[in-house]
């Protein structure tokens, strides 16, 4: 029996209400006394060979017969009125098949994509589809736009003055923070300024659209095929089944590719107008200016404590530079929920500017919020003259502090202990010196969601060769989720993960799966995969029981064999499946809801050791210890690579990455890799990764997400380590030689 349930899911801190069709599920829980192989055993990615050999097909690789190339006319001004635009001249360029302008009314999520009042440098005005890129470039020139520049705001001071709010300001209080600050033994005040970090996916945003009478197909570099389908259906008022979204492989997204995006809708509109397939691939400059960024923010904290270390009051304010729009992410969540504190006052002001819209970036809000708040906590520890780690242990909370709900599981204290041991925290002051190169060690805690939830479905087919086909409606953001999904099924079927054929990334061939965001893909899909695999297993054992005249309950599946529990029988699974002929065992699984009244979080602690050359201002990270509590670890190899990637991206935020906007023209001046620096291999420190691997007892399969947690504490740990090394706190990231030398001057 199936029933429709209403459930809540937390996506990047936002509670979403969803309906899910949940089927009865008799899949037994994992037995705690025995490791459910192959879970916990390192498994190379099933897509690894395709990726490294070049066989993997990315969206920008798609070439369809008759396909056109698209380009977008973008404003060079931070704000302007377009007083003249020669669409007819562009249409007259030979080889041009479609020209769309502001009057064509192409909408993305309700807002016009093409505008004659461009609101930021890079805003789209018109779009061209032509037989070649060169023809499209000619048509762009033929448009001969004339601009009337308008006043604009691109910095925080101007935005504060203008006070245009994106969405709503956020205010939340519990207790009486002002009163508690007045009576606290110790009060610290501190402020931090976080930079705009740009996602910079190596495969830029791109789409290939093919609009035909019988349906619209869009190949998209996306982290949400189903979200993309729905965006297209809404944009063109289509039935969702008219739309098919495909994503085989993608070259990074980090939050900025939720759905098919503006580029997907634009490519579809051009394809409809041209009656030909259209490919739109953004340039690196477009990637850097129009596809999103982690919001810069100014944080101001006042923390009050008793002399014994009890955190009595948190007053936290943040002014967030949203650009021209975007979602306000929970920048003050760490201040709200990381520690026990009775009196908390939070205020967030999301400010509009004449810059591209902001977009989710791996642990949006929480990473930069942790960077700032965990440094304020270190300043409180200094004021109290206590060890920063002790202060955190002392103010640990066993329940969610804002609403007092219990956690499904929380092992943060163990993370602190393990991280301290692995990093040599107790001896950290021995690192310090007065020499030219100074060393220091700092820590930060990690708090995030990641419990996953419905709706998520899986289908498994098993035929005569015992090579199961696992079909799931997700995409691989690059996390290795497909390999983990195969491992989940492999555990039930006793068939090695590399014998699976996994089908993914196509809304027309798999039922709904979650978007790859909020660290929820695996935690959402795994229970569905396991349920489907369990049903296949049951049917296979039924057949085997009949064949071997043994009760199915006395049989099990492992190592590609059917084995009797008394070990007298061991036959290849194909011994049974070969009798299937052209028949298949087919089963479905679905994801049930998480428990009501409980909070699902992941936790962790990272400790960074840094070195600084005080004469040149160069700093580098020598070692990062990362200990995280993320529930069951399915594939330790994939999990470790997630941690390494997160740490490295956190190092980028701390040391190198920052979008720079010219105050005079409002234009981004480092919209490319010449001046926007991502970390490279030479910046990778020793990374010691340890995951507690403790299944969450209250979640199906015990799995929680790991995509975002590892980036969250890295910058804060580096900031605290730098302060430990230098005796001076840097209030602005990234910690470039300029900022370090200016702080030391």
């Amino acid at each position: 029996m199936a029933r429709l349930v209403r459930t809540e899911a937390v996506v990047e801190g936002r509670v979403e209400e969803r309906f899910a069709l949940v089927e009865d599920d008799d899949t037994p829980e994992y037995q705690p006394e025995r490791r459910p192989l192959p879970l916990g055993v390192e498994q190379p990615r099933i897509t690894g060979w395709a990726r490294v050999s070049g066989a993997a097909r990315y969206t920008s690789d798609i070439r369809l017969p008759g396909m056109l190339e698209a380009l977008v006319l973008r404003s060079p001004h931070a704000r302007a009125n377009v007083t003249s635009l020669d669409l007819a001249a562009a249409r007259a360029v030979p080889g041009v098949h479609a020209v769309l302008g502001p009057d064509d009314g192409i909408l993305f999520e309700g807002g016009p994509i093409l505008s004659s009042e461009p609101y930021y440098a890079g805003a789209a005005i018109a779009a061209i589809a032509a037989g070649s890129r060169e023809r499209a470039e000619q048509a762009l020139v033929a448009l001969s736009p004339v601009y009337e520049p308008q006043p604009f705001v691109v910095d925080l001071a101007g935005a504060m003055e203008r006070q245009e709010i994106v969405g709503e300001a956020l205010e939340e209080t519990r207790g009486d923070a002002e009163g508690a600050l007045a009576t606290a033994d110790v009060v610290i005040e501190s402020a931090f300024t976080a930079p705009a970090q740009v996602q910079h996916a190596l495969e830029t945003h791109c789409a290939v659209a093919d609009w035909r009478a019988d349906g619209l197909t869009v190949w998209s570099s996306t982290q949400g095929i189903y979200e993309g389908r729905d965006q297209l259906a809404r944009a063109f008022e289509l039935e969702s089944d008219f739309v098919r979204v495909v994503c085989e492989y993608m070259g990074g997204g980090f939050g900025s590719k939720w759905g098919v995006g503006v580029e997907g809708v634009l490519a579809a509109a051009l394809s409809r107008a041209a009656t030909r397939p259209v490919r739109l691939v953004y340039s690196r400059r477009e990637e850097a200016t129009v596809t999103g960024f982690r919001t810069p923010a100014r944080f101001e904290f006042r923390l009050g404590a008793r002399n014994d270390g009890t955190l009595e009051a948190i007053d936290a304010q943040a002014a967030v530079e949203m650009g021209s729009g975007g979602i306000l992410f929970p920048v003050l969540e760490p201040a709200r929920s990381l520690y026990a504190c009775a009196n908390v006052s939070l205020m967030v002001l999301p400010l509009r500017q004449n810059l591209g819209p902001s977009e989710s970036f791996r642990a949006p809000g929480v990473m930069e919020g942790t960077w700032a708040f965990e440094q304020a906590m270190d300043e409180l520890a200094e004021a109290l003259d206590v060890d920063p780690l002790e202060l955190r242990r002392f103010n640990h909370t066993a329940v969610e502090p804002a609403d007092n709900t219990p956690y499904t599981s929380k092992r943060l204290l163990e993370c602190y202990d393990r991280a301290a041991d692995l990093a040599g925290w107790a001896a950290r002051d021995a690192l310090r010196s007065d020499g030219r190169v100074r060393r220091g060690m700092g820590l930060a805690s990690q708090y995030w969601w990641g419990g996953g939830g419905p709706p998520a479905y899986a289908e498994i087919r098993l035929g005569r060769d015992a090579r199961p086909i696992l079909s799931i409606g997700i995409q691989d953001l690059g996390t290795g989720v497909l390999t983990a999904a195969a491992m989940i099924a492999a555990e039930r079927l006793g068939i090695a993960p590399d014998r699976f054929s996994v089908k993914w990334g196509d809304t027309s061939s798999s039922a709904h799966g979650p978007g790859s965001g909020g660290s929820m893909t695996l935690a959402s899909i795994a229970p569905a995969v396991r349920a489907a695999a369990h049903t296949v297993r049951s049917e296979l054992l039924e057949l085997a029981g009949t064949m071997y005249e043994i009760a199915p309950a006395d049989l099990t599946l492992e190592n590609d064999q059917i084995i009797s529990l008394d070990r007298t029988l061991a036959r290849p699974i194909t011994d049974v499946t070969s009798h299937l002929g052209d028949a298949s065992i087919i089963a479905h699984g679905s994801r049930g809801p998480n428990p009501d009244g409980m909070t699902v979080n992941t936790f962790g602690c990272q400790i960074a050791q840094v070195a600084v050359d005080t004469l040149t201002g160069r700093s580098w990270v020598e070692r990062v210890v990362a200990v995280h509590d993320v529930g069951r670890v399915v594939n330790p190899l994939g999990a470790r690579s997630q941690v390494e990637g997160g740490v490295l991206q956190g190092i980028g935020f701390a040391l190198f990455e920052e979008r720079v906007v010219d105050p005079t023209t409002g234009s981004v001046v480092n919209a490319g890799f010449e001046d926007y620096k991502l970390p490279t291999m030479s910046d990778v420190p020793e990374i010691v990764c340890e995951l507690l691997d403790d299944p969450d007892p209250n979640l199906p399969t015990g799995i929680k997400g790991l995509g975002e947690p590892p980036i969250i504490p890295t910058p804060g740990a580096i900031g605290n380590a730098l302060s430990h090394a230098l005796g001076v706190r840097l209030r602005e990231a990234p910690y470039t030689p300029r900022r370090i030398l200016e702080a030391l001057a």
């Binding site: 400059r285 005079t664 023209t665 620096k677 490279t680 030479s682 030689p737 200016e742």
Partner: protein, 297 residues
């Protein structure tokens, strides 16, 4: 983006000179700088003359002198065992150029003739003073990575090889001039001459000569990350007997000779670049220490 009209593939210096007579023609080595300018629409040559087949790719040693053809790839310069052993500053500088892929493509001549670093100069939507416009946007706006020397333009020269070769007292030859001091390849831009290169129309570098081997030499450099970035500041030093020659990049429009005793002389800094003085002083001291330590052999 302005499409490139034509390409020329001369097979000799003479042929190259002829092709570069055309108005708007531009010489190209590996293309690693020029093509990025073309892509951004900040350079629009009528014809690109590819010098790689013009016979400029010899690397020779003779009586302690080093002769490097302008077409020698940066990677090949770095791979030369004698350069590595005897001209340490040049080897280290070559190893720091760009990325491995860029070193495989880029040539010595092209590296010396790369245009200045300035995110306004290279911005596709802006026409700065150096490109013939009215304003030096950098001085009005964000010049945190710019030079230490006030002027009409505050962009910085960033050729690691030029820095090393200046300290090595190298000479350059072009298709029009023989063995001039390397410093003469550069000039500060002016209202009438909006370029930091002192090359006449149709002129291109053919050969770099280092007349003698230094006793010891060293390159010190501050980048934006562990590898693969332009130098924020680079300092080259070479010792010839008692005399030390020093040069820096990242501090002014041209690669600049430094007075070993007073490296900050003439470099007062600008509102956002004072920090570079500290770094320059440190790198100059480090380079000096390395070249005064002991003779190399």
């Amino acid at each position: 983006v302005i499409p490139v009209g034509r390409l020329g593939f001369p097979e000799s210096v003479r042929e190259a000179s002829e092709q570069l007579q055309e108005h708007g023609a531009c010489a190209m080595g590996g293309g690693t700088d020029l093509l990025t300018q073309v892509q951004r629409g900040i350079a629009s040559p009528s014809v690109i003359v590819d010098l790689r087949g013009a016979g400029l790719d010899s690397l020779e040693h003779e009586n302690g002198a080093l002769r490097v053809g302008a077409g020698v790839r940066v990677a090949d310069l770095a791979a030369d065992p004698i350069v590595r052993e005897r001209f340490g500053v040049l080897f280290e500088a070559a190893e720091h150029v760009g990325t491995r892929q860029l070193r495989e493509m880029g040539t010595v001549g092209g590296n010396l003739c790369q245009r200045v670093r300035c995110w306004y100069f290279r911005h596709p939507d802006l026409t700065c003073w150096l490109r013939g416009g009215e304003d030096c946007y950098a001085q009005l706006g964000d010049h945190r990575k710019h030079g230490l020397e006030p002027g009409d333009c505050i962009s910085v020269a960033s050729s690691d090889l030029a820095c090393a070769l200046l300290a090595l007292e190298a000479q350059v030859s072009t298709n029009l001039r023989e063995r001039m001091p390397l410093a003469d390849l550069y000039r500060n831009p002016s209202a009438e001459w909006r370029s930091n290169l002192a090359l006449a129309s149709g002129e291109f570098v053919t050969l770099v000569t280092v007349p003698r081997t230094p006793d010891i030499s060293a390159y010190e450099r501050l980048g934006e990350r562990g590898e693969s970035s332009f130098a924020l500041v680079g300092v080259a030093a070479a010792r010839f007997g008692e005399r030390i020659a020093m040069a820096a990049i990242g501090v002014s429009n041209t690669p600049r000779a430094l007075a070993p005793g007073n490296p900050l002389e003439g470099l007062p800094g600008l509102p956002m670049t004072g920090w570079k003085r500290t770094a320059l002083a440190a790198l100059a001291a480090d380079a000096t220490t390395r070249v005064t330590r002991a003779p190399e052999s």
